[in-house]
């Protein structure tokens, strides 16, 4: 009986001690975005210069290729604008206004903390006989700067230079911001910027691929060439929806990968009007970084919903050899060309 009483007393004391014991101190949560951001940049300069031979230079590549990072704190990037007859599908040519040489424009890759010294010439007067030269501009979603300064319209024949610092990691859009913005975008003035975290994206992958989805609003002319159909653009009725500028190009020319290798896909829907429900048949996205920022991680997703100008990074493996279609799962867009194939060997 004494033992029982002693045990009960000890238990009571232990309970009291537990109730009155000091709580452990809160462990500070590390915020990966808690670093100093660089806001603003020196005023942009617009001037006349002799244009170089190439329209682009810097850490740039046309999707699906992903450019390599430049080392150093300062990165010089040049993307000129021209008016150019491009063929987006056999027999479908129209006068586009690309950044660089193609639609979409080149993928730019930088990392957090790098200062981008950007230069863009408006070369639209070089084809004055075929396409009216006009002002153009560029709007980097990755930058924190005054648009009324850096994103100002540049007259034909002139060059703008401005700076911005990459503050946030992610997959971002760039586009022309000159009115009518819709019209400039449907003429192809769109592209992707990848910003890596300061220490790189977490985890190892075997392969990197960039996919940019865009819509084309065209109509056929009597002579068989095509022109932009602005009415269709305003009504959101695209003639084509494409990955990397050419509708259904990866059906006849699939992207070849290895079964089991880990793939990192940089995704961007540049619109300009519609959303994308990106899906790969036969696999799941092991990781999804919303807007390309590893802080915004989701796991095991089947489809990534991207509004116009939204980006994402998805990582996945194709489990065994085979053919794996990738689509915008809004199937009207598949009919319009938003479809391709991965061949896993």
């Amino acid at each position: 009986m004494k033992n029982i009483a002693l045990s009960a007393t000890l238990l009571f004391i232990a309970f009291l001690f537990a109730c009155t014991a000091p709580e452990p101190e809160n462990t500070p949560v590390h915020d990966p975005m808690d670093y100093e951001k660089v806001l603003g940049a020196p005023e942009a300069v617009v001037e006349t210069e002799d244009f170089p031979e190439n329209t682009i230079s810097g850490p740039l590549a046309y999707a699906p290729d992903v450019p390599k990072l430049n080392t150093g704190d300062v990165v010089h990037v040049r993307i000129d604008v021209q008016h150019k007859l491009i063929e987006i599908k056999e027999g479908v040519k129209f006068w586009a206004w690309p950044f660089g040489d193609d639609v979409p424009g080149p993928v730019l890759r930088v990392k957090v903390g790098q200062r981008v010294i950007f230069k863009m010439a408006n070369r639209s007067m070089e084809t004055i006989e075929f396409s009216p030269p006009m002002p153009h501009s560029i709007d980097f979603h990755a930058a924190l700067v005054s648009p009324s300064d850096k994103y100002r319209s540049v007259p034909p024949g002139q060059t703008i230079t401005f700076e911005w610092v990459a503050n946030y990691p992610g997959v971002f859009m760039y586009h022309c911001g000159t009115t009518s913005i819709l019209q400039h975008m449907v003429y192809g003035m769109v592209g992707m910027t990848i910003v890596e975290p300061k220490d790189g994206f977490p985890g190892e992958v075997d392969r990197e691929i960039a996919l940019i989805q865009n819509e084309y609003y065209l109509k056929e002319k009597e002579d068989g060439t095509y022109m932009v159909d602005f009415d269709a653009a305003r009504k959101k009725q695209p003639m084509f929806v494409a990955f990397n500028g050419k509708p259904a190009q990866y059906v006849q020319n699939p992207i070849k990968v290895k079964a089991g290798e880990r793939i990192r896909l940089y995704l961007l829907n540049v619109g300009p009007n519609d959303q994308s429900s990106f899906h790969i048949v036969g696999t799941l996205f092991d990781k999804v970084w919303w807007d390309g920022n590893p802080v915004n991680e989701m796991r095991g997703m089947q489809t990534v919903l991207l509004g116009a100008s939204s980006g994402a990074i998805v990582e996945f493996t194709l489990p065994e050899p085979g053919t794996y279609p990738f689509v915008d799962h809004e199937f009207a867009d598949v009919e319009a060309g938003a479809v391709g194939l991965f061949i896993a060997e």
């Binding site: 004055i128 006989e129 009216p132 030269p133 006009m134 319209s153 000159t178 009115t179 602005f230």
Partner: protein, 159 residues
């Protein structure tokens, strides 16, 4: 209703007697005019009975289907002129497409340039150049701005 006129009909353009005239110079391949769709459209409605408005298409590559399509897209009720020989261009010397001129009934240019300054201000209109010029004309006041700098497509003048 769309009415097509050919430029160069002597002496210049058929004009209703006693009305001032507005010519806006456009090319179908140049979207800059869409920045002025509402401003110019509202002027057509407000002053259409008192001012003779016309579009002047200036690009030799334009075809009729594109011209009519552009006017329909703009939603304007306005007649148009095809300036095949650049007679009107050489007469009035607009700098860019979307530039316009306001002419007195006697044919004197009292305003030349942009419809407004919205393309310079992300759509915000700080200067209603053409509308102000029309109002000044009807009020008998001096035109407050006679030359408004615009953003548009460079015009390909024949040499």
């Amino acid at each position: 209703m769309l009415v097509m006129l050919m430029a160069g009909v002597a002496p210049s353009l058929p004009t209703p007697q006693g009305k001032p005239k507005v010519l806006i110079f456009l090319a179908t391949g140049c979207p800059c005019v869409f920045s002025h769709r509402e401003t110019f459209g509202s002027m057509l409605k407000k002053y259409g009975s008192k001012v003779d408005f016309s579009i002047v298409f200036i690009d030799k590559n334009d075809d009729k289907e594109e011209m009519v399509g552009m006017i329909e897209s703009l939603g304007w009720d306005i007649k148009y002129i095809i300036d095949e020989d650049q007679k009107l261009l050489n007469q009035y010397h607009p700098k860019v497409s979307t530039d316009c001129v306001l002419l007195t009934p006697a044919g004197k240019v009292v305003y030349k340039g942009a419809v407004d300054d919205s393309p310079l201000n992300y759509g915000q209109i700080k200067e209603f150049y053409l509308k102000n010029a029309i109002e000044d004309f009807f009020e008998g006041r001096p035109i407050r701005v006679r030359l408004g700098e615009g953003i548009g497509c460079i015009i390909n003048y024949k040499k």
